[in-house]
Amino acid sequence: MSGISRRRFLAGSIAGCAATTLCGTQKALAAGSFTGYPEGMGVLVDLTRCIGCRSCEAACNKEQNLPAPAKPFDDMSVFDERFHGGTQMRRPDENAYTVVNRYEPEGGGKPVYRKVQCNHCNEPACLTSCFVNAYTKTQEGAVVYNPKICVGCRNCMIACPFNIPGYSYSSAFNPVVKKCIFCHETRLKNGRPPACVEICPQQALTFGKRKDMIKIAHQRILNEPGRYVDHLYGEKELGGTGWMYLSSVAFEQVGFDTTTGNEPIIANVKDFLGTVPMVLAIWPALFTGFHLLAKRKDGHGHDDDHAGDHSAAHGEEEDKS
């Protein structure tokens, strides 16, 4: 305690307390969870209206300057494609930020088409898992990505509960993550809907403030209870998503994971993150303490200086051997 006297320490503490009190918040501090920007935009996807025309895929391809697909966008045979032993349907990748898949619901009936793209979570797993902060949740509601700082660890792809981000593995010198960015740069920033929403001929996609989309969705369920399952997927799932879905059939029948729960992904990690400062704070004293305890026994009254102590202890070892 030579650098700072007790009096100065006390004075500093009191000043700190006073400053905290004076600048104190009027409201209680916000809880640790984030439920999205209040004015953030969202899209309501109504699966009952989608006819599987794939024009959203085409519009996205054009808007994002993606390479031409192997099969043209009016070729409906892509709905029959299966991968990995016939178990998997198409998924977004570096060449397609959105895909539409066709599901045959149990018990017959019309096929259901489901558009897949980034759901633009309120508290995105990709963002929270990124160690260079390459992801940003913008005030407009988009989850965007900065390819200039991405190291390519692909932890975001591990973390994404919807398996959305794709990686341009084929690039040797500048591989990056490729995913839907809500047309943030070209449209959303200027208040315009994304290309896929604008082109949809069936109005299966509705663009607006997320909070309004929730109201519209529940209104639709209320107006036509026979048409919809009474659930808005994405309203609460994983902390809420910007893109939300209405369906006429059970969500698990059309490829949704209904086991995710409503906590954002980061909630699972908080247990560990909480232990980090504790280990950092406690371990030094704990293990230095162990060291001192162990040394007292060996030292036979030697001082605690490590160098002297060590060779003394060592000398004893050598004497024994």
Binding site: Q88, N133, I158, T260, F272, F287
Partner: protein
């Protein structure tokens, strides 16, 4: 090398040739070639059949590594968006790091708890830790999309809330700590006593730093999977305990890796080990095995607590449950039983067998978590054959570097302290009684006793 020794060659283990009579120091080439002439060295290297196996692996694997860097990950992997982490990380990072926990374990034993009876094996444990981490980073560099951006989380952009941020910082810091810890052997080898004394002085600080960093990043590697609750099978997943499962299994993993490596060393390079190492190895092995047993039984308990905590008993009746129980039976319960029996009956051979099984068990657990039980709801991923070959090649480089260092630096043997009789240069003040003691040691006293 063994045959060279039988012909009367004495491998370099002293600062100067002909210890007392002739003060002519070994030059660097002598040290690098172990006192052989270049021709002799080459001859013994060619005679070793293991080098031919390595040569074949490198002939195939090194071009593949170049191929990966020139043409991208897609030419050597399946470019999976569903399995973004393949063998390079599943094995290279997640399995190599727990097997490298030996450094901080033995550091703690010797430096913190003052158990100097484990000193003969301490340096091997430290080196094992350093090389394991180094090669985990090398595996990572092969896997990263843009490896040249590896320092970005340190200098360009920070994501401090991410677990991987913590891993990056801790592995980088811990690598430096381990370089410092093992540098004592290097300083002896190059004959710079000042550096050695400095490291000895900060040894406790380094060791405590090592414990902190190890606790956190061993755990953090587990915590990385808590980002994927829907992807890792529930039996291998635990939001609350994942980090401590990984940390706890790293303890027997690291200790058993030292037993495994020391077994190989004893069998293949006994010429390089000194009497102190060989005479104490069995005793140290039993000691390490006792530590590993305690780690294993704790690990078994907390794995079962993990199942109970999330009420996953129902999964045990499924195919995944059988695989989970098989992993625990082979990787944990079997070595536990073998250790118990072998320690009780003083059968060091069985202890060594159990250590190899434990190492296998830890690797299996990491592969299960990262690859096999990952995406259990989707489909299994079989790695690309080139991915397997590159993984094997990097492991072969690891073995070569490991062997290169063990042959030369005083890790398995004590560097004979002839230089201690050379008067201390006047520019260096003699600080303490420790130095006074050092200036007149008995001939053949080891450097390690000098501080």
């Amino acid at each position: 090398m063994k045959s060279a020794i039988t012909r009367g060659v004495h491998p370099v283990d002293t600062p100067s040739k002909d210890e007392m009579k002739n003060r002519k120091s070994w030059n660097l080439l002598d040290k690098l070639l172990l006192g052989l002439t270049p021709r002799e060295y080459l001859a013994q290297a060619v005679m070793n059949p293991f080098n031919w196996i390595l040569g074949i692996i490198f002939a195939v694997g090194l071009p593949l590594i170049a191929y990966r860097f020139l043409f991208g990950l897609s030419v050597v992997t399946h470019s999976s968006n569903d399995y973004p982490w393949g063998l390079f990380l599943g094995f290279g990072l997640f399995a190599m790091v727990p097997l490298s926990a030996s450094g901080f374990m033995l550091g703690t034993t010797v430096e913190i708890f003052g158990r100097h009876d484990f000193e003969p094996i301490e340096r091997l444990a430290l080196l094992n830790g350093l090389l394991g981490y180094l090669f985990a980073v090398i595996y990572l560099l092969v896997d990263l999309g843009q490896p040249w951006r590896l320092p970005y989380p340190m200098v360009v952009a920070f994501g401090p809330a991410a677990v991987l941020f913590l891993v990056a910082w801790h592995v980088a810091t811990y690598l430096s700590v381990q370089v410092a810890e093992i540098s004592v052997a290097f300083f002896e080898w190059i004959g710079w006593l000042g550096g050695k004394r400095f490291i000895r002085r900060i040894a406790v600080g380094l060791t405590v730093a090592g414990i902190i960093l190890s606790t956190l990043h061993q755990g953090a590697l587990g915590a990385l999977f808590t980002y994927a609750p829907g992807k890792v099978h529930p039996l291998w997943y635990s939001a609350s305990f994942q980090w401590i499962h990984f940390f706890c299994s790293a303890i027997p993993g690291g200790l058993c890796m030292v037993i495994a490596v020391s077994t190989i060393v004893k069998k293949t390079m006994a010429w390089r080990c000194d009497g102190n190492f060989l005479d104490n190895l069995d005793r140290c092995t039993f000691g390490l095995a006792k530590g590993a047993s305690m780690g294993l039984i704790t690990y078994l308990a907390i794995k079962l607590i993990g199942v109970a905590h999330d009420n996953e008993w129902g999964y045990l009746a499924t195919g995944w449950g059988s695989w989970f129980m098989l992993e625990l039976a082979i990787g944990v319960i079997l070595p536990l039983a073998l250790f118990a029996w072998a320690i009780h009956n003083q059968r060091v051979g069985v202890v060594r067998l159990a250590a190899f099984i434990t190492v296998f068990g830890v690797v299996l657990n990491r592969l299960n978590t990262a690859l096999i039980a990952f995406n259990w709801k989707l489909y299994p991923e079989i790695p690309h054959v080139f991915e397997v070959l590159i993984t094997v090649t990097i492991f072969a480089i690891y073995i070569v570097v490991y062997r290169f260092i063990l042959y030369r630096l005083p890790v398995l043997f004590a560097w004979k302290a002839v230089e201690a009789e050379v008067p201390v240069p006047a520019t260096e003040p003699i600080p303490s009684a420790a130095m006074a003691r050092a200036s007149a040691p008995a001939a053949g006293a080891v450097y390690r006793s000098i501080d």
